[in-house]
C-alpha cells in the first residue's frame, strides 16, 4: 500500500494501465485459450446439433404418432439438406432447409432459423407441409431464456400451439388467449421470448416461400430429367 502512495499523482491513465497489467495479461491469455477450446469443440457441438436436427425432422413433418408408426414399420424418410441464401436489401441471410420425402413424394420441409430472443439467440426448427400452407411442428434447438419463464417455449404444451397453424399469413402473439387460427398465446411473463419465436417463424416463412416453391419445382424437373 505504501508503494502505491509514493507514486506520483500525474500520469493517471498510464497508472491505471500499469495497475491493471495482470487483468489485461490474463484476459489475453484466457481469450486465446477459449478460442482454442472453441476451435476444438465447435465442430463437435455443431455435429451434435446436426444429429439432433436430422433426428427431429420426421417428427416435425409428420407429427409424433405418424413418426412412431413409421419407426415401428422400419421405414424412414429421405432427408435432403439444402442451403438457401435469401437476399435482403442490406444483407444476405442463409437458411438450412431440410426437405423430407417418402419414396420420392415430398412430405414437407424443415427450416432451421436463428435469431435474437430475450436473453440470447434462439435456434428453431420449423416443420412445414410440402405446399408451405401449414406449420406441422416446432422444435427449439437452442435457447438460454430465463429459467421458469422464457424457457417455457420448449414445453410441448406451448410448442403444440404451432402444430396445424396456418403459414399463409403471419402468426400473431396475443396475451389474452388465442381464439382464432393464427393466434399464439404468449407464455405468461415471457412476452418477449414468445414474440421472438413467432417473429422468427414469420420471417423465415416469408423469406423462404419464394425460393422453396420454385426450388421444389426445380428439384422435380431435375428428377425427371435424370429419369
Amino acid at each position: 500500500m505504501d508503494a502505491e502512495k509514493k507514486q506520483p499523482a500525474g500520469g493517471l491513465k498510464a497508472n491505471y494501465l500499469v495497475q491493471a497489467w495482470l487483468v489485461i495479461f490474463l484476459a489475453i491469455g484466457f481469450g486465446v485459450s477459449l478460442a482454442g477450446v472453441q476451435l476444438a469443440l465447435g465442430p463437435v457441438i455443431e455435429q451434435n446439433k446436426m444429429n439432433e436436427t436430422l433426428q427431429k425432422v420426421p417428427e416435425l413433418v409428420l407429427g409424433r404418432e405418424a413418426t412412431q408408426k413409421m419407426a415401428a414399420e422400419n421405414q424412414t424418410l429421405e432427408i435432403t439438406p439444402k442451403q438457401i441464401a435469401v437476399k435482403k436489401p442490406t444483407s444476405e441471410k442463409f437458411y438450412s432447409v431440410y426437405q423430407a420425402s417418402y419414396q420420392g413424394a415430398p412430405k414437407g420441409w424443415v427450416i432451421k432459423t436463428k435469431g435474437q430472443g430475450y436473453a440470447d439467440n434462439i435456434e428453431l426448427l420449423i416443420g412445414l407441409t410440402a405446399d408451405l400452407k401449414t406449420i406441422t411442428g416446432l422444435f427449439v434447438l437452442d435457447q438460454k431464456e430465463t429459467p421458469g419463464l422464457g424457457n417455457k417455449i420448449i414445453t410441448d404444451a406451448w410448442r403444440g400451439q404451432f402444430i396445424n397453424a396456418p403459414a399463409s399469413a403471419p402468426l400473431v402473439v396475443v396475451k389474452t388467449g388465442a381464439t382464432k387460427p393464427g393466434e399464439i398465446d404468449a407464455v405468461t411473463g415471457a412476452t418477449i421470448s414468445s414474440k421472438s419465436v413467432t417473429t422468427l417463424i414469420n420471417s423465415a416463412i416469408t423469406d423462404l416461400r419464394q425460393p422453396l416453391t420454385s426450388g421444389a419445382a426445380e428439384t422435380g424437373k431435375g428428377g425427371k430429367a435424370n429419369g
Binding site: Q19, L22, V23, L26, L34, V37, Q38, V44, I45, P147
Partner: protein, 206 residues
C-alpha cells in the same frame, strides 16, 4: 499465516463442517434448480468441481500479484473462463445433459461458492491448500446436491438414475420434481442437519 488451516483441515471442513450448501447456504440457485434428477445434480456438481478447482489453483498461483481493488475482476475473469470451457465441453460430449441443465451451467459464473473460496482460501494460501480446499468443497457440494436430488427423484418419479427403485404402485409425487419440491426437500434436509449439529454440540457440553 500460522493460524491458517492446513490442506487436510481445509479438505475435511469442506465436506461436512463447512459444507457449502448445508452450512454456508451458498450456491442456492443450482441447489434448487437442477436437483430434480440425480444425474443432472451429479453433472452440475462435476462442472462446479472443475471450475472451483481450476479457479482456486490459478488464483492461488497469482495471489502475490493481486491488487486488492482488482481482485474481484480477476476472480470473475478466471471463473468465467473455466465456466465457458465446462459449458462447451458439456455441449460437445454430453449434449442432452447440457440441454437439460440449460442456463445453469453458464450461471456457475455467479455461484458464490467459487468466489467465496477464491477470496477466503485461494488468495491467501498456497496452491496445494487451495486445491485441497476446492476438492473438499466440491465433495461437500456434490454430496448436498445428490442428497437432495436422490430424495426428489425417488419420491417424484419412483426412480433413481432413471431406474425404478420404488414399487410400481407408488403414486409419483409430481410436486417433488417441480420447484416447490426443491424447497421442501432442501428445507427438511437442512432442518435434519441442524438438528444433528445441535444434538452433537449439546452432547459435548453435557
Amino acid at each position: 499465516m500460522a493460524d491458517q488451516p492446513t490442506a487436510t483441515e481445509r479438505f475435511i471442513q469442506g465436506i461436512l463442517p463447512e459444507n457449502p450448501v448445508y452450512r454456508q447456504l451458498l450456491g442456492m440457485c443450482p441447489t434448487l434448480a437442477v436437483t430434480n434428477s440425480l444425474m443432472a445434480a451429479l453433472t452440475m456438481a462435476g462442472a462446479v468441481a472443475f471450475v472451483l478447482l481450476c479457479a482456486n489453483v490459478i488464483t492461488s498461483l497469482i495471489r502475490d500479484l493481486l491488487k486488492p481493488h482488482l481482485r474481484i475482476v480477476i476472480f470473475t475473469l478466471t471463473i468465467a473462463t473455466f465456466v465457458t470451457i465446462a459449458d462447451r465441453a458439456l455441449a460437445a460430449y454430453l449434449y442432452q445433459m447440457s440441454k437439460t441443465l440449460g442456463p445453469y451451467i453458464p450461471l456457475i459464473i455467479v455461484n458464490c461458492i467459487i468466489i467465496c473460496r477464491c477470496e477466503v482460501v485461494a488468495s491467501k494460501q498456497s496452491a496445494f491448500v487451495a486445491a485441497a480446499d476446492a476438492i473438499g468443497q466440491s465433495l461437500g457440494f456434490g454430496l448436498a446436491l445428490s442428497s437432495i436430488a436422490a430424495v426428489r427423484e425417488i419420491l417424484g418419479t419412483g426412480c433413481l438414475f432413471g431406474m425404478r427403485v420404488l414399487p410400481v404402485v407408488w403414486p409419483d409425487w409430481v410436486i417433488m420434481v417441480l420447484p416447490p419440491g426443491a424447497f421442501l426437500t432442501f428445507g427438511l434436509l437442512l432442518g435434519c442437519v441442524n438438528w444433528f449439529t445441535a444434538r452433537k454440540s449439546a452432547n459435548k457440553e453435557a
